[in-house]
Subunit: 428 residues, 2 copies
């Protein structure tokens, strides 16, 4: 049975209907566009949307052969990804109206799998902290998080089922948490970044959003090119490591409450569940991530730093100034410490199948001048580990709250199967 | 004293004269342009050169304050790097005449340090195997190697002192070997790749060429942002690991002869020198590199694969077809085996300061339809280790032959100091 509000269909369900030709992509797109028309004047999830092009793509897909696992699904593309048929602004006035000559590789892969790009979603300035116009669909006075602000908000608000994002500090997991959707940051190195505005050589990671683990995994399977993400969803009873992280004192009452709720719900089902003891000699990974990011951003954005300084936000300008002053020897030592930490943390996964960890300090903060703190994401991004945010609770202001699961590097298919298992038990 | 042929000045020497204002950048550029005019009709090192722009840049540098360690040095930029003021073709007809909106980060960093871009140098098609027009300056009937063909040839032929390249399989070390110059491939992850056409997420590495180790290190110091590469050249007596690699049977008599010559020359000076015993359970790194590269290139070049198939060379098309058919599970297992191999090889550097290894199977092969075999570079690129090619001999056809030194990941400053020490002893 097809629900009356097509825009509320999840990706997995819509894909099945589309594959059986029981649903037309054009109808799905029309429902999504109606929702955008109804809501986006307030939410501002989109930086650019072209209804005619989207509908034309949908009709073409309806008339042609099945393309692949995303056939007919409307996709939001963070405006940090190049698109050949839509302007690409990277969230910066420097690139207003810029028309790339080619699609980013991740966009091309999704199109090859049958997705149609509904529009470009708002990013913060170069995916750093200076916010775009997007508001949190659950409460317009609150930030949606960043930097993948528009993608998270559009998926949360049922404007479309799937959207692309990137994470350098916490830019997928944090907005997923604030908007109450599933966010998936793959293992580092698994998704091509060609055609994505580059910020940080060793941190930038392409991923995406859906409203369920299976939906995010469907998108992820195309991004990392691994069919196991959509075919293998059997997870045994798990050994769950509880990793509050050294930043736990900064988790507020809402996150603490979600933590208590989750651990209580999972305890009867897990084969084993215990606190993770982090190695004593582990460096301060949050500080390390900040330094690596500053050094690398100051270099990756050299053209903008040198030629468009006056069109950078003060906060970005300050970061680039800080980063360019970091001595190379210090950066090299930081990368070496990161590698050593990766090896230590990898060993934890002999003991645990997944780690449960906070996603954010709490609910989406009030105000649109900032996008919240990526504190609880920085370490996992530095370590390159795959992460999935699971929404399952509400905070004291009624806004979404959840937690993230962290998996072993390279074992994304296991993480997503495990995340599905965990999410089921948290949302019963 | 300034030599009469300014184009023959090494980067280090020219930089010192320029910094003392004893040499004008305009004069240096003019000498380089004269050499280009004299030779490039035969060598074809340049894809694009704009003498007026280069001279204008030089005059501006002469008139202004000292910019940095590359002040006034003419730089060749592989046509795989975006440049805002020169067309960028990536060696493919698809991008003929393309004008990027921004400089690649590496180009911007060199300009910030005072370099002036003399022109764009020829790359093979998307830095894969389909050759450009470049010929080997030592014998025009032989390949210069690829994919950084024009950069290596231009530096070898004294058209300029420094040039940028990239390596995904063997695209810096091989042309350096064939053209008889120093090629430096930094540790993976140290140089920003923003604005460089992306082929392979986990392999692509930005580096460069010079005619001496110190020259290459000077350029490298700016690329990786580590002043130690130009300030620390003291190397103690070394523990040298002799790593013929499992591919040694494919080294021809010229490479074998160079090996014997080098080991004999180094034996009296090294603190220790012995054959490296590779772990028994090491996977076939060459086969692994080929598979990782095929998988990743088929995805990074998705836009071209899907929209410009008929304008790809047959060999590249075949690679992309092979790569897209590799199951994601196989790729994930390959990346995991690579990580394990990295850890095993890293441990070798507790025992050795550097590894000596072949750079190429022999001299530059005759013929311009192919660019030679990156066989002896694939493993080191896969492992992400820093490499320096050292030219010091001639083969049976009188063409350059040499060997490479491989260092510990992240210790590029030590590798370059050690390479300087080794090169001195090989070229006495």
């Amino acid at each position: 049975m097809i629900p009356s509000k097509l825009n509320e269909l999840g990706a997995w369900q819509a894909a099945a209907l589309l594959a059986r030709r029981e649903l037309r992509a054009a109808d799905l797109v029309r429902a999504c566009l109606d929702r955008v028309a109804e809501r986006d004047g307030e939410v501002h999830a989109f930086a650019h949307i072209d209804p005619d092009t989207a509908l034309a793509q949908a009709r073409s897909l309806d008339a042609g052969p099945l393309r692949g696992p995303l056939h007919g699904l409307p996709l939001g593309v963070k405006d940090l990804f190049d698109t050949a048929d839509l302007p690409t602004g990277y969230g910066s006035p420097i690139y207003a109206g810029y028309r790339p000559v080619a699609d980013a590789a991740a966009v091309a892969l999704c199109r090859e799998a049958g997705a149609l790009v509904l529009g470009k979603t708002v990013t913060t300035e170069f995916a750093y902290f200076h916010p775009g116009l997007t508001r949190n669909p659950h409460d317009l006075m609150h930030t949606p998080g960043g930097s993948s602000s528009g993608s998270a908000a559009a998926v949360a608000d049922r404007m479309l089922p799937l959207a692309l994002g990137t994470q350098t500090a916490g830019s997928i997991i944090r907005p997923a948490a604030y908007c109450g959707v599933v966010g998936y940051k793959p293992s580092w190195g698994r998704v091509p970044r060609a055609g994505v505005k580059s910020l940080s050589e060793t941190l930038d990671t392409v991923g995406g959003f859906g409203r369920s683990v299976r939906d995010a995994a469907l998108l992820g399977s195309v991004l990392i090119g691994d069919a196991r993400l959509r075919e293998e969803f059997a997870a045994g009873a798990l050994r769950i490591g509880l990793c509050r992280t050294p930043e736990w004192p900064q988790a507020d009452a809402d996150t603490q409450h979600a933590w208590a709720e989750a651990t209580a719900a999972l305890a009867p089902h897990a084969v084993a569940m215990s606190d993770v003891v982090l190695p004593d000699d582990l460096p301060d990974l949050v500080a390390l991530q900040k330094a690596v990011m500053a050094f690398e951003m100051s270099r990756a954005l050299s053209h903008e730093r040198l030629h468009h300084r006056d069109r950078l936000s003060p906060r970005l300008r300050a970061l680039l100034d800080d980063g360019i002053a970091i001595p190379g020897a210090e950066h090299a030592a930081g990368l070496a410490r990161t590698e050593a930490a990766k090896r230590r943390i990898d060993a934890l996964f002999d003991q645990f199948d997944v780690l449960l960890a906070p996603s954010a300090t709490g609910e989406a903060p009030v105000g649109l001048g900032a996008t919240g703190d990526p504190l609880f994401c920085r370490s996992w991004t530095l370590l390159g580990l795959p992460c999935v945010h699971l929404p399952f609770a509400r905070g004291s202001h009624g806004l979404p709250v959840g937690l993230q699961l962290v998996g072993r590097w390279g074992e994304d298919h296991r993480l997503l199967a495990n995340a599905q298992w965990v999410h089921e038990r948290l949302t019963r």
